[in-house]
Subunit: 194 residues, 2 copies
């Protein structure tokens, strides 16, 4: 059991708990979830804050979604590309939204700065690279659009947040609805590609 492995294991056990209870989660609960003694946590991490930081870093890590976005073939039509992107991003937002949202407060972010903490605004940073990936996805059709791909990417991401904020499924727009609305307000030649 390498130290790196141990840390990863603790973070894996802590993530769902942090998502649910935020910084109010106790180290003993994390230890129990991980099936180890509480003291072991403090062998792997300097203190509880470092555990929470590691959770944030893991949660906002955009590698997975970026890989998915990069794998979308650019020769597909724009609506298809965006629908594919919507699914990948939705999953990413769900993973990350809970953890980060839960920790935003909770007194977690104290002003002391023990070196390798995730830099402040790392969530925004993470969102930014995702937005850039979406921008790249839109870029090929720039000529056909009335807005800059950057703005469209922002709007698109905002739209995807809808799901996280409404519980009722009945009147909730589908991914197709989102893409449809986004595109036919954006394409310079209206309504041609429905």
């Amino acid at each position: 059991m390498t130290p790196e492995h141990r840390r990863a294991m603790i973070v894996a056990a802590a993530l769902p708990l942090v998502a649910e209870y935020g910084a109010a989660i106790t180290t003993s609960q994390i230890a129990r979830a991980a099936g180890i003694g509480e003291a072991t946590i403090f062998r792997a991490f300097k203190d509880k804050d470092e555990v929470l930081d590691a959770c944030v870093t893991e949660a906002v890590n955009p590698d997975h979604v970026l890989r998915e976005l990069a794998s979308i073939p650019l020769d597909q039509p724009l609506p298809v590309r965006l629908s594919d992107a919507a699914e990948a991003i939705r999953a990413h937002l769900e993973r990350m939204g809970t953890v980060v949202g839960s920790l935003h407060a909770s007194g977690h972010r104290r002003d002391r700065s023990p070196a390798d903490r995730p830099p402040p605004g790392s969530r925004e940073q993470s969102m930014r690279v995702v937005r850039e990936a979406v921008t790249d996805l839109i870029e090929p059709d720039r000529a056909a659009l009335r807005l800059e791909p950057e703005k469209l990417a922002s709007i698109f991401l905002g739209m995807l947040f809808t799901r996280l904020h409404f519980a009722s499924a009945d009147t909730e727009p589908t991914s197709e609805d989102l893409v449809d609305v986004l595109l036919h307000g954006s394409l310079d030649d209206s309504r041609s590609a429905t």
Copy 2:
């Protein structure tokens, strides 16, 4: 100093602190902010949880934004109505987003249920009535739209969340951008009402 007044005063003092620190805020901090003794808090509220609940109830209270939305004249053109709505809703989301987001975690929501706690999902409830108000705002133009007003209202609200999730102002879409994109993908006769 009526008891109701006292409670309101405590909540008013606590709200910005809760928005910033979440449930990690201490009762002594709240007392200091309110300029009262800590014990006084517990004469007005049963326990700290009740204080936090009162903050949530206050923060998600949609009365203000509903009044603003209701005051938008329905005989104005749809784009104007939506732009006006965007401003009111944006302010509401900002007020409410921080407090609720900060509290979502922090172990605040325990399973005990001391009667007049804000019912679970009161944030969703609050969002729902706002969405209904927006729906009413869109309703008169239903015939000219390709989607149901309900869905459009959801999408519109989702778009407005964009601002809360990105810090960078440069590539950020304006309210006008949002309305523009939303409408010209929604109006049945494309691009006529720009």
